[in-house]
């Protein structure tokens, strides 16, 4: 579903000069898989996800989604992506239904498919009570459900989620976790970044540990446990970033 080759991105910093935020990343993620990007703050997770979502252009390397190149055909790629972050905002003066219509239209859907899909999402996510109320009148949980519906309106086969549970209460973050699992059940490819170890351990089929813009280790939780000899993911993570990806023993 999603492949990257030697994906690289620099930023210019006034004090520090050129910074390599993403440094030669190779990924290969499949449909029906939850792929986790685990890293500290500043490890390059957000930049990587923005490159995958075509929000940023890579300095070098390639991203392909379902065979389409992200640099030469960004709009084709975007049509296949649903993107959500923990801090994603909504248009406060519109209603959830209007937001769904807007993003449906932008994705090139026709009026009847937008209506059908909106009704379906509103029902599935329990948004019936507030679908026609302005977003600025909604609770944070209702807003988050609206954001999920917005991400799914065009039924994208690839979901890119950047720290989607950041700052949410237990009930709302559980709704997000359920939504991620459901998406996998529907055969979507989910790429998820997080710095919360137990969230990654609970959800992800495969994990890449990212540090200073590079992937230190990639595999299943079982692979990591066998390789590093630790049971706890926190210990594995520390070992991975301390020892340049090599086992500490």
């Amino acid at each position: 579903m999603l492949k990257t080759q030697q994906l690289t991105k620099h930023f210019q910093d006034k004090k520090r000069g050129a910074i390599k935020a993403v440094d030669g990343i190779d990924l290969d993620c499949h449909s029906g898989e939850i792929f986790g990007l685990l890293g500290l703050n500043g490890a390059g997770k957000t930049t990587t996800l923005r490159l995958l979502a075509t929000i940023l252009r890579p300095d070098s390397g390639t991203v392909t989604v379902d065979g389409a190149d992200a640099v030469s055909h960004p709009e084709k790629v975007r049509a296949k992506i649903g993107f959500l972050t923990g801090t994603t905002g909504l248009y406060l003066r519109l209603t959830p239904r209007e937001i769904l219509r807007y993003f449906g239209q932008l994705s090139g859907m026709d009026t009847s498919s937008i209506r059908r899909r909106s009704d379906d999402l509103i029902q599935r996510l329990g948004m019936g009570d507030f679908a026609d109320r302005r977003v600025d009148k909604l609770s944070s949980g209702q807003k988050q459900r609206t954001s999920i519906a917005r991400t799914l309106i065009h039924d994208p086969p690839l979901l890119i989620l950047d720290e989607p549970t950041t700052g949410l209460d237990v009930v709302t973050s559980r709704a997000i976790v359920d939504f991620i699992r459901e998406a996998r059940g529907e055969g979507k490819c989910v790429i998820l970044s997080t710095h919360i170890m137990h969230e990654a351990a609970k959800l992800c089929d495969r994990i890449a540990i990212l540090h200073s813009g590079r992937i230190r280790r990639m595999g299943t939780l079982a692979d990591f446990r066998a390789y590093y000899g630790h049971e706890d993911l926190d210990d594995i993570f520390v070992a991975a970033i301390d020892g340049d990806g090599e086992p500490s023993r």
């Binding site: 993107f83 994603t88 909504l90 248009y91 519109l94 239209q105 932008l106 090139g108």
Partner: protein, 434 residues
Amino acid sequence: MSGTLIIFFKELKDILRDRRTIISMVLVPMLFYPIMSIGLGSLISSQVEKTRAERQPIMILPSHAEPGLMVSLAADTSLRLVPSDSILKLLLQQAENDTTLDKTLIRRIFSSLPSAIPDSIKQPIYYAAVAQKWIRAVAELPESLPSSAGPDSVIVGVYTDQAEIKSDAAGDHIRERMRTVNDSLTDRRLAPFGVSQRSLRPFWIGSADIAPKSKQAGRFLAILLPYMLMILTFTGGMYPALDITAGEKERNTLETLLVAPVSRWQIALGKFLTVMTAGFVTMLLATASMTFSMKWGAMQFSDQGAQSLPMGMSGTAVGWILLLMIPTSTLFSSLLVVVSISARSYKEAQSYATPLLMMIILPAMVSFVPGIELNWSLAFVPVVNLSLALKDVILGVEKPLQILLVFAATAVYASFMLFVTARIFQRESVLFRT
């Protein structure tokens, strides 16, 4: 529907639900001018009426002035004579606490002939009485009138505080009354010789305004309207521009739009069109409301009705204005979008937009300056060219080639800014400035 139009209609719906936009785009232009011209106009005219109807207290000096003149002032129903003795008393009391007033000088003015005392001495004392509102004006009359005019002519002095409307009105009444007395005295002296004042004048001075009707009508609008048109187009688009660019960044919705399958230039164009529409609508609403309230105000408050202050504009002038305003609003809207998308937050965008507004206000004011006219080189100076071209168009001056050049030059600047707008939405360093 194309991505640009989808974004345009959504942004339009969004900003129309924003109270700030409604206030700046609809309410201010629709209410400001009627309130200003009708409300303020009626307040001023009612104050003027009230002042005219009141009898203004005045003092005559010296107390033994020429009786005929004193009687004629006393007979004036808009004036009320206050005895100089009572003012003298009040001034002497005032001098107890006010060191700038000299009692000796006050007594001297009231006891001798004041016309012999220099202005520098008596004016502060008159002013003290007028400032206390005991009297509104001082009339200095001669003790007697000379039997022949010429070098023996005497002066009637009228002292008022012209910053005070009531004092000014009292002065007008005194002067008018004295002029009448002067004329009738002159006529009486000429009568034995069988001549009148009229027959003594070799010529009269006549004057006529030969400007065509359209130019006469547009004179007032020509000064104000070019400036107003430009400022309103800019300010009308300002809040929407800040809201849909810097505001979108601040509310973290920009990323969701960037991941939608539309190109960056479609996003830029959709937002630009929204800002341009808001500016254009504000300009149209304000111009309509201003023209209407001026016409209405002129009918209500001018003596001869609307005819004396015609505000009409020819259809050709309106056509030219609309034609010129298209590149103008394109230029301003793209400038606004570029400046506000470059900001990190709504607040930062506001601090960029204000100096930008100043940069437009100053050159736009050129229409206020008499004598500066559109020429082949000024036609290339942004904003200045528009201000002058709009002025010409309203006055109905025939310079179609120069005005077309202004249109073309502005269109070139606007296209360049539109190109910059489209480009800036491609720049990651601008979209993700933190």
